[in-house]
Amino acid sequence: MKRIERVFVANRGEIALRIVNACQELGLETVVGTSEADKSGLAAREADRAVCIGPAPASESYLRDDLVVQAALGTQCDAIHPGYGFLSESPKLAIRAQENGLIFIGPPPEVIELSGDKLRAREEAARAGVPVLTGREIAPGDDARKAGDEIGYPVLVKAAGGGGGRGIKLARDADELGNLVSLARSEAGAAFGDERVYLERFVANARHIEVQIAADEHGAVVHLGERDCSVQRRYQKVIEEAPAPDLGPAVRNALTAEAVAFANAIGYRNLGTVEFILDVDTGKHFFLEINCRIQVEHPVTEAVTGRDLVKLQIHIADGRPLGFAQGDVVFDGHAIECRLNAEDVARGFMPSPGTLSLFAVPENLHLRVDTALCAGATIPPYYDSLMAKLIGHAEGREATIDVLQEALEELDVEGVETNRMLLLSVLGHDDFQRGGVTTDWLERAIV
């Protein structure tokens, strides 16, 4: 039986700190691998040990699976937690960890590979009986216009190696499609090292709803409910919540059952998220993709289920059975997460790195704040601009919105530009308060 005693954390910022804290609560030792820019970060200070794995640019540190594994071995760790982003969705790290006798806290490499291949994941979903949007691969030499005419316009051109909102283009008509396909192919080759592209029917009025699943190594698969992540800007999530507002029991049951069926069909292990698109005009839902890591927005699920998902990841990776059945998963209240980013909304959401002269988050029983920042900390220009996640949890949705409005208003932050006002505009907007906004809403109504 495997036994994890010391965990190497291959990430930075709030998620690195989140993993360190979960390990501490489990009585496990931690080593954080940092870049030069994060050496004095909170995660490095909280861990039992921190090692500098390379210079600030991620391509020379956080994205180097060889350095990560070498550092984990050199510090006598027995497991690696990849967090989200960076190497979490690349089979490279999982394979190298395995080859060197380390436990990768995530799914096995072949599942990561399948998750990264959006085209194959679609096919597998369809085979498992999960509805997918009409679409198909456009190979070089294929008649894209003919395929586009069959699917109907507008149509999305997606990169097989994309995902997470990247590598997507919208073609309004056949002429536009003809031009976009070859461009999309060369861009996909450069960005993802995979030129394959496919067409997928575009849903004009859609909600993004995803299901959290957990699978142990003994064949048990459960779901932990859904999250609504429809408040997006350029396919990037801004606010997420659980449960999804106004989702009928029929749709909820179908989504969660299909997510579990799909996870079973592909031999999924550890935590994962099955993303769906819900067509609000027809009420039909379709598979979008599967994400094989802890999600940024996992705290909303933790809030309503009372379960610690990072601890659960480690527990599963340690080879232990889930320890609970579907019927044991109960939901309580409503949770909403706001992503506070260091960005200048007025100047096209330009990242706004810098040193925080002031950063103080209010305390409230109904509020959880995940951040690795404090006053005096520097937000380096090398990485994403997420500063903190504010998670409100109360009995009802209205009360949860109140908690977050109050928290954002009371938040003290100086030194960088933030999207605080944007978050407040969303929370205070009638459409959002009514619930069930679509993925294009934020850019239409506010930005």
Binding site: C52, S59, L67
Partner: protein, 148 residues
């Protein structure tokens, strides 16, 4: 016409929205080279161009001499520090030995890849900081060198 800040921002915005990772633009008036860095979830941030580091020939960042007249040779990468080419072989350098900037002082192993590290500065080895076969971090002091 030279590029204004506004132009640069606009170009960055266009690149951000595209799936391009690199752009090289050259006109009579200016030349612009933009590389989009790797990033995790969230909004993109521009990053400086990563330097290529071929294995086996690692440039050594050596700190300038401090008050005590000693320069420091720091680790150009994380890895396992080896003082000799192989077990049983004599170490590359000993305390008191004279080194030139191109003298190989140690090897750092990363996943079976051996990277030789050069002194970078001329002088005399005054101290070997890590133990042999120890994990060294990026930027960690390896040797103190008495300047020539």
């Amino acid at each position: 016409m030279p590029l204004s800040d506004e132009d640069v921002r606009e170009i960055l915005r266009i690149i951000d929205e595209s799936d391009l990772t690199e752009l090289h633009l050259e006109t009579e008036d200016f030349s612009l080279h933009v590389v989009k860095g790797e990033r995790s979830e969230g909004a993109p941030a521009p990053t400086p161009r990563p330097r290529e580091r071929p294995a086996g020939d690692a440039p050594t960042p050596s700190e300038p001499a401090t008050d005590d007249g000693l320069a420091t040779i720091t680790a150009p990468m994380l890895g396992t520090f080896y003082r000799a080419e192989a077990p049983g072989k004599p170490p590359f350098v000993q305390v008191g030995q004279r080194v030139e900037p191109d003298t190989i002082v140690c090897i750092i192993e990363v996943m079976k890849m051996m990277n030789s590290v050069t002194a970078g500065v001329p002088g005399t080895i005054a101290e070997v900081v890590p133990d042999n076969a120890e994990l060294v971090e990026y930027g960690q002091p390896l040797f103190r060198v008495q300047s020539a």
